[in-house]
Symmetry: C2
Subunit: 342 residues, 2 copies
DNA sequence: CTGAAAGCGCTAACAC
DNA sequence: GTGTTAGCGCTTTCAG
């Protein structure tokens, strides 16, 4: 019994030495047999493999890593406490790396620099081959200084021009949204969005202006506030309960929560969506877009694609390629009933 | 330049040998100095430490792990593709473990058994000291067979009685919700919830019945459907648009989405919440509870507490304690305006 | 109090 | 073809 609890490592302690002994070959031969390389009689190779499988041998990555100077391990440092944006990215990243046998350490720093440093130290101790940094907001952050290992910033930007940053194309997404509304024949389009200090807000605003100006429309309806449904409702009150200025016939919202709030507020006023007013959101957050009445057309930032790309670039950097600069990945328009009658 | 790119490991390759050489001591002495143990002249210890700091020495965890048979590393395997439930758990778990210098490998299996096996193999190769398994639903799953390392199931259950499973107390949460409504003087309480095959649905239903029966009320209003806002709206239609049976004066909903849909549907009908009908949701998902009109009273499963507890139990198991069985952690009631006028 | 040396599990270079 | 051996970086007896 106490034997039983102590001895709870049936196949963990199985070493290549054991395989070699049982297969009646040298330890070097056994090693060669396991790794595809090396000239070996097929017979010998087979015998070794068979024995290895039988006794449940599993090479010790730690020992391997010690030898090659690669741990096949990377770290991911996130500051998005809620996880809404980082989770899809991390998931796709992890998936992409797992395909190459690279495992991912997850660290959450919650915007605490001390915690962040502590995590990085720990990761360096574990000899990670690379590091991915994510954040809640895509505003600039101080670069992380780790001696010599590749770092990549996803959904986040470092203030170092040599850093590689991967971001969604906010401006392009805004153009997509605006042109969709313009294509629908709308001419009084308002942009209701989040706090102006977000770079994403500025970029989306710029895309909005660009699209409207190109179409000969005035991009004069711009409202900035918090990222909440309540703000969506309030903004609609401002736009529609006012005196006599011509009312908007379309809303491009900075996120889906604002869009949903706006949709509800219009509904409360008996204004028909999309007939009287069309709405486009941003994020394509299904719990919002699909539950809203009507379901919301929205811009998808393709976060999983961002995560996959990050994985690929990181692998490239680990194998020696040098990558720098800011790259933006395209967003996509997802049409639902808030712009097009079903 | 090419020198520069090649040589991008300023302090990664610094070994204890270098420290020893520069501090003019033997390598064994240097080691003793780094680790608190061992009898050493303070002077020597200080010199070693100083040199170590100067040249940016950081012990190689891989080498250490090879020696002790502990990697100070655990794996977490998740099947929650959306991340809504698992993220808070993982976050708290990671935090708890990081405090003890244990790093966490994150693996997402997305309910694919082959992928899951592959991940586990990889983790075993990395010699993790323990494994945490999470899932989207808290229904039973086949136990994971890993030779001898501690496994713990969080927000998920294995069909092995020897497994340690940590879950929220669904039944207790339902009692809390129901008693809150009963305490408000409501007598016709309906339970609108998710699909019956979820164990959580059954448990919450049981708690609901228990509380009502104890109060001498009839728990006869039970509606099961999908986990969506739409279902919340539909259920309200069934309950309130019907003929002449006395209408409910309170709704206990299986999650916050259903609760929000119900609140909206009541609003559409001009039924006052909480005056005419009080509503309690489940999950305390802020984007739902706070955006709803009125904001929703809800049951919080305390996911972070669950994650922390998982971390603690896992550490205990790693240091040899034996833990088995299913443990449920208490839920909490969070009161908002859907039950109590502000 | 400090140095020397064995060995954790594995790989790669070199003998045989 | 297969065996031997020297490390990867570190800790830990065991001598001195």
């Amino acid at each position: 019994m106490s034997q039983d609890t102590q001895d709870k490592s049936p196949n963990r302690r199985v070493t290549i030495r054991d395989v070699a002994r049982l297969a009646e070959v040298s330890i070097g031969t056994a090693s060669k047999a396991m790794n595809a390389g090396g000239r070996l009689r097929q017979e010998t190779r087979d015998k070794v493999m068979r024995v290895a499988k039988e006794i449940g041998y599993r090479p010790n990555d730690l020992a391997q890593s010690l030898h090659r100077a690669r741990s096949r391990t990377v770290g991911i440092l996130t500051n998005d406490s809620f996880g809404r944006f980082s989770f899809p990215i991390i998931r796709a990243l992890e998936e992409r790396l797992a395909d190459q046998g690279v495992a991912v350490f997850m660290c959450n720093a919650t915007d605490d620099p001390a915690r962040e440093r502590q995590h990085i130290d720990q990761l360096l101790g574990k000899r990670i081959d690379g590091l991915v940094v994510t954040a809640r907001r895509s505003d600039r952050r101080p670069a992380i200084l780790v001696g010599g290992i590749p770092v990549i910033y996803v959904f986040s930007q470092a203030d170092d021009p040599d850093a590689l940053c991967l971001l969604p194309d906010d401006e392009g997404g805004a153009v997509l949204a605006s042109e969709h509304l313009i294509g629908l024949g709308r001419t009084r389009i308002a942009h209701i969005t989040g706090p102006e200090h977000f770079e994403a807000v500025q970029l989306r605003h710029r895309g909005f202006k660009r699209a409207l100006e190109r179409a000969g429309l005035m991009p004069d309806l711009f409202l900035s506030g918090p990222w909440s449904e309540q703000w969506g409702r309030d903004a609609v009150a401002k736009l529609f309960d006012g005196a006599d200025a011509p009312r908007p016939d379309a809303l491009f919202c900075g996120n889906d929560q604002i869009a949903r709030g706006a949709a509800e507020a219009l509904r409360d006023r008996g204004i028909a969506v999309p007939k009287d007013v069309a709405i486009v959101g941003f994020d394509n957050w299904l719990v919002m877009t699909e539950a809203a009445r009507p379901p919301l057309t929205s811009i998808d930032m393709n976060l999983p694609a961002l995560g996959r790309e990050a994985g690929e670039r990181l692998l490239a950097m680990i194998s020696g390629e040098r990558e720098t600069g800011t790259r933006r990945l395209p967003a996509t328009l997802v049409v639902r009933q808030s712009t097009v009658e079903s």
